[in-house]
Amino acid sequence: MLALCVMATLALIYALPVPYSDNLSSIVNKRDLLKDDRQNRVVFVGGSGLFDGLDSGMAENRLHRPVVNMGLYSGFAITPLLLEVEPYLRSGDTVVIVPEYRFVFDTFDVPARKWLFALAPARNLRLYRDMPHGATALLTDVIGLLRSKIQALPKAVRESVRTRSFAPLTGHGYAYFGKYYDRHGDSLRTMRAAVPGVIEQMGLEFFSDAAYRDQSFAAVNAFCLRARQTGVKTIFFFPAFPEVEYLRLKPGMQAYEARLRRELRSPILGTPQDFLYPLSYFTNTVNHINSEARTQRTEKLLQYLEKAL
């Protein structure tokens, strides 16, 4: 009887249209930005390098097209994000793929997994079927989602009382999406360096064969092919990266670029060198740029996109 009551409580929490406390749940809100009637959209797909590293407003003004920034967290990887975005694309849209070097064509990580499930539970059950101890992982992820809902409740209740409205208690995705993101999906907050002058580096190990993930490569190419067939353009760009780090990892970087140019079924605009910046332009990791670099990087992207679109 006790077990039934607990299970019923969990089911009720799951069913409640209450938002989440975790920032990664913003992926739900970002995906919702695609559920509209706007034509000829430009959809940026990437990780946290786009999160606060893209000025979508500038891009929209220059390209005269609606811009959506799907960038949030590299842990979502590229293939799963493209698959989530795909059902909402229509002819005339352009998908701009800008993955960080660290997670290039890698698979999703554990923190991202439950949010992929939250995006599309029925479709993403397959993620658990293919992994060892999938049932346990599914259970912990579902409980993680429920926990995130409960953790959002105190602030949501306070906000509800303050605004005398039920709105903060309802909705889905991130409870504070409207507060911390603009209408394009750009973050209104910039990453801060945890320790000034110390930036989390990337190791050489990511360039091992395992990082290339043949399966993911094939999946991205398949996406690009399907996109082309439905009138959706795809464009690939290299991410922003510190110049000194690029030089340190140059052999691996060059091999990665060569493979992309050889195998990727999507136009690649620009070169890695187009998006190399001084270390001082980065905040807390080699993927996160400050506002000055964001403007320069967006400008460079637009130079190519204006010609391509």
Binding site: A3, V6, L10, T136, A194, V195
Partner: protein, 477 residues
């Protein structure tokens, strides 16, 4: 296997079911086999070490009892204690001593060529060796008959609910229970299960959540100054309490299910009004062990004041060392010993101050101040317990009030307010059962209230548990 693991979730009901189904004469062998399997789930080979201590102490007990000559009895006792302590010392302290001798030799420009060994500390070694030593000493003192049945004695040392992290039992309490016939009693069994559930809640909901905060700060100390250090230290105080008392609840609960009564290990230690009171409430099985087998044999309180203080200090020093082979534990023990000595010295002064302020007329305020002061002193000592090195501990101490509001802190710091709610819930449960009754939570309450509490406990545990299996802190001792 850990108490908060899937393996134990399967192991426990299986062993318990077989225990009640088996004929009473076979039960000791079933439990012994289960305890062996439980222990070997960690590092199988180390059961041989356990076997050596069991054989030595079993034989010593019988020889001591059989021998009328005092000198021979003492010899058997000494041999038994030396062998047991030597095993503990080798596995736990060899590298610590070796490293310190090497440093000293280097400072004196002497050659010293003994390398440290790659030794893995057998799990539970500190606990079961003390339990074995307690048996031999009690037989020597005439307080306990020597156990003639090797299997029963082995079970006394290896009884799986308390094998790896206590409580450190006394033979007078535990040994005879293995000969009792335990029947299935619904109230006792359900009470035991509830206690296990409560222990699990403390461990996987509170302790493991606090561990994330503590580790974030203590593993990156130099990124923090000011209040994050203070909060992380207080979080550690609650983490170690919930971790260890949670383990103890699971141990006592699982033993209770089968009909065994183990000694209580905690009595709301953060309600203590003095450091001495704290040590009467914290890890009581170890504290009483040191009292009975170290402090009192050295003379205890029946000696001069100076000698008494020396005995006290030495006892806590040894207690600190028992916890781990690191100077931080020694300093932690010494600090607690110093607290007790200073407390005794300054008692007249403090009493005079209390009388002068007039706070004795307001007992609640007085008690609250005492509790807070004691908590602050204990937390300060916990800094040394948690820090990885003396240098790290000193960093915390010297930066605790440095830029108190942490404006210059570089590390990120996030505290989930729900943990406070859960700690309050836990303390409420302890308060309700302050006069006993942990063996059947809320048994004397109305059914609606009782089931509401069980529902809250179950739902919170499912929703907020850390499913990534953090080890119990005291397993490392």
């Amino acid at each position: 296997m850990l108490f908060n693991s899937l393996e134990f979730f399967l192991f426990f009901p299986l062993v318990t079911s077989l225990y009640f189904l088996a004929p009473p004469a076979w039960r000791w062998s079933l439990l012994l086999a289960a305890s062996c399997a439980f222990y070997m789930a960690f590092v199988p080979m180390y059961i041989l070490i356990l076997f050596v201590t069991i054989v030595v102490d079993y034989a010593a007990g019988i020889l001591i009892e059989r021998t009328p000559a005092v000198r021979m009895r003492r010899l058997y006792l000494i041999v038994s204690l030396v062998v047991t302590v030597a095993i503990l010392a080798f596995f736990k302290y060899f590298n610590f001593v070796n490293d310190n001798v090497a440093h000293l030799a280097k400072a004196l420009h002497w050659n010293y060529g003994i390398e440290s060994l790659k030794i893995l500390l057998p799990i539970g070694l500190s606990f079961h060796t003390f339990q074995s030593m307690s048996y031999v000493i009690e037989v020597y003192r005439g307080n306990q008959r020597a156990e003639r049945h090797f299997g029963i004695y082995a079970l006394y040392v290896m009884f799986y609910p308390q094998l790896v992290a206590g409580p450190i039992e006394r033979p007078q309490n535990l040994l005879h229970q293995f000969r009792e016939q335990h029947t299935f009693d619904y109230a006792r069994v359900s009470g035991g299960l509830k206690r296990m559930a409560f222990g699990l809640f403390k461990k996987v909901v509170i302790a493991d959540a606090l561990a994330e905060i503590v580790d974030q700060v203590y593993n990156n100390l130099h990124d923090y100054t000011g209040y994050p250090l203070a909060i992380a230290t207080m979080c550690f105080a609650w983490q170690i309490y919930c971790d260890f008392s949670g383990y103890s609840d699971i141990a006592l609960g699982s033993a209770q299910v089968m009909g065994f009564r183990l000694m209580e290990n905690f009595d709301r230690p953060y309600r203590a009004r003095s450091v001495a009171d704290f040590w009467r409430r914290w890890h009581m099985s170890l504290t009483t062990w040191f009292r009975d087998y170290v402090y009192i044999p050295m003379g205890g309180s029946r000696v001069s004041e100076g000698k008494r203080y020396a005995n006290l200090f030495f006892t806590f020093l040894i207690s600190g060392l028992w916890h781990g082979a690191n100077w931080t534990f020694v300093i932690w023990g010494a600090l607690n010993g110093a607290y007790l000595i200073l407390s005794s010295w300054t008692a007249p002064l403090r009493n005079a101050l209390v009388d002068r302020i007039g706070i004795r007329g307001h007992p609640r305020v007085h008690h609250a101040i005492q509790i807070l002061m004691t908590f602050a002193l204990i937390c300060f000592a916990w800094i040394f317990f948690r820090a990885g090195s003396v240098a790290d501990a000193l960093y915390v101490v010297t930066h605790l009030f440095d830029d108190l509001l942490g404006a210059s802190r570089r590390g990120r710091f996030a505290f989930d307010g729900f943990i406070l709610v859960f700690i309050l819930f836990m303390e409420y449960v302890h308060y309700v059962h302050r006069n006993g009754g942990m063996g059947n939570l809320f048994a004397d309450k109305q059914p609606a209230f009782r089931w509401a509490m069980y529902y809250a406990l179950a739902t919170i545990t499912v929703l907020f548990a850390n499913y990534h299996q953090q080890r119990f802190i005291y397993f490392q001792f």
